[in-house]
Amino acid sequence: MVPITTPDLILFTIHAALKASHSIKKGIADGIRQKSIVLPLPDFDAMVRETTIEFYFQKEGKKYVSQIPDLQKLQEKAQTSILNPSEIKRYRAYYNAFKKNEFDATSIISYFSIKNLHREGNPPSLLSLIAGNLVSTGIEFYQFFPEKIHPNHFTSKALIGFMQGLDQIPFSEGNFDQKALAEAFFPNLFVGISEWVEQSEASIKWHPKTTQFVQEVTKGIGEELLADPTSEKSRWGPLLFQSFLSNASTYLQTNTEDKLVKELAGLTLSLLEEKTILSPSGLDHIIRSTLSFSGQVLHDHPTVSPKLKNWLADLFKKLSKNPIFHPALLPQVIGTILETGGTSLAEKWKQSPRATRDFLIAFFESNGQLIKNIPKDGWPQKEDFLKIIQKGLLHGLSLSSTLSNKELTEALLTFQNDSKGSEASIYPMWSISLDAMQHYQMHFNQAMPGYVFQTLFQYWLSFESLFWVMPKQKSKAFIKTLCQYYYNEIYAHSPIEEGKCREIMEKITQFMLAQQQPFTMKSPHEIIKQLEIQ
């Protein structure tokens, strides 16, 4: 930047500043001029008077009078004298019962929020409602960084997308909850975007469609939020928005249609209705994986977005109601499914969304038995659990390529009903894992360091290809033997430090895999001897 050193430049700077100041001021002034205000009525008493009731029963409500002796008596008295308080009470009750009184106070009050000027034709938008707030917020935020609101700066592009999105959100001007929320929420969102861009400036790769992406996300969040303006979703809005922006490139690289983004933004926000306990990382995981998965599905089938959105909503809903998941884990489970499944899942979805959903549901229900057996005091950690899901899902998907969806679903559901039944062998990883858990629990007490379990599990996954072709009974024998080896060796060296433990287990595992037929070995000590573990 050239330093200001000459009178001309100084004058130019002042002129430019005045011009900018004028434009911004004009924006605020327009916002104020057009803003709706609620107009009060003159004072009036909302109580129905006796004469009103009397005249009603003289004319429209005459037919009721002859049917009810008490009312008849009251009506006769009201016409010639005044009623006592008890009679007035009954008289009003009859009126309220017979006179159609169909109105809703909240709805009526909505008629009193009135703009100073109306745009012909178009319904009012959120943007027009909160333009003044946005401008004043923008001034506060950017008054010392005006270069960021240059049209070519991506801050400016993000904000344009945001405001274009706002401009397309219809809303009821008279709904005070919506108005209050909008006026409080969207300027905050504006600040949220600005802060995010500022923090991520160095790492952002601006895609030509990003402005539209931001626009659709804004619409999705805005519409979902305003549909239920009293909810706590507003707390999540800025975070959700930032997460979408952060993961935009995941989607933009593959997708050919943008409207789904809006649906996904709304859908993600609606997950909060399920009372899911979301953490920022969980939310981010869902968004990243959903965008990635949707991008893959839509890459070849750009027109299926409504179907996909409904599918995701259905899946989220069903999984969130599954009692085997701790709610705090659900977002990451969903994220893991969609990320791990990747192309295979997307392909499967393209063939049959319904069967894919059924497969996933059955997959998780079948794992319920395993999860129930996991000790509550620490293992497996969340990461281990997600690894189980990843591995299992990949196997499930590979199986599903050879079995029909119906066969697979039936098999998995059978496994759910009887996890030790012969049908369970169709899904050996999980069946055997269940057995393994039982063995571990028998052999290792809870004083066993956590890393032993983690290491066990890590190596356990190495066996999956072996288990895959192994009859169930042999698998169980294998597990039993292996567990004994681990148990004997680890305790033989107890106390043992972590590195040594891992080393021992790795050797045993490799040896077992190399043997191919470990089931014939009768003595663990014999193997240990061969391994020469010292």
């Binding site: 200001i4 430019a16 104020i32 016409q79 008054q143």
Partner: protein
């Protein structure tokens, strides 16, 4: 750049001070009105928050905004500011000040918009409040005198002269539906006062008091005029299916 931004920041901070006060005044006024409407239309759920506190706050905001009159004038916001001031003064029962502000607003509003209609109608809105206060004073009196009642009707419901300001405002804003609906409802509020006054008169006569015979005549005449006025206003609601709730509400309440 630093110089530029400093200048810009300075200009904005100094120039927009009045705007912020005006925005606050709008928000506080809306808040007050919302509470008041809630109390009027849903008396079972009276708010503990008193609308006058918010009207007072809005009034204070708009007076501060008006300390920066040249800036408001340059941005054509002076009419808005005076309108809001007049509305606050109406609700805070500072009727004489409201009239001064109203005239100031009308002098500066250049188009027939919501504010213009409101300022045109304001004398009637104020008159309705004054009428309601007088109504309570006249009929809540334990032993109202016939002369007092006669005086009340002659003063507040003179024959053929109801709400000319509101009607004038409606003629000037024929395309502003939301504003028209508001003005119709303002008339209905006034009609409710009239309806209550007729009820008070009838109750007075039915109570067995000895009263001047002219009261019967007053009742008959006033009731007839009331029905004509009510018919016109209710027709406005009846003709628009989207206003059925409003129609039902007032139809239940009015004589």
């Amino acid at each position: 750049m630093k110089t530029y931004t400093t200048i810009l920041g300075f200009l904005l901070l100094t120039a927009c001070g009045g705007f912020k006060e005006l925005q606050n005044a709008q928000d506080h006024f809306s808040k007050a009105a919302s509470i008041e409407l809630q109390n009027q239309f849903d008396p079972q759920n009276i708010s503990l928050d008193h609308p006058d506190n918010w009207y007072q706050l809005a009034y204070s905001n708009v007076k501060k905004a008006l300390q920066n009159t040249p800036s408001l004038e340059r941005d054509s916001l002076l009419g808005m500011a005076y309108s809001l001031k007049a509305l606050c003064e109406w609700k805070l029962q500072k009727y004489q000040l409201a009239e001064i502000s109203r005239k100031a607003a009308l002098n500066r509003i250049k188009t027939a918009n919501r504010n213009y209609a409101l300022m045109t109608a304001l004398p009637d809105l104020i008159h309705m409040d004054v009428t309601t206060a007088a109504l309570k004073q006249t009929f809540l009196n334990i032993n109202p005198q016939g002369e007092q009642i006669i005086h009340f009707f002659q003063t507040y419901f003179p024959e053929g002269k109801q709400w000319k300001h509101i009607k004038n405002a409606m003629l000037q804003t024929p395309d502003e539906k939301a504003t028209l609906i508001y003005l119709v409802q303002a008339q209905l509020s006034g009609l409710k006062g009239w309806s209550d006054a007729l009820d008070g008169l009838k109750q007075y006569m039915d109570a067995g008091n000895s009263y001047p015979l002219i009261l019967r005549e007053i009742f008959a005449n006033q009731y007839q005029q009331y029905l004509e006025e009510k018919g016109t206003v209710m027709d406005f609601l009846r003709q628009d299916p989207s206003l059925v709730e409003l129609f039902n509400y007032w139809n239940t309440l009015l004589l």
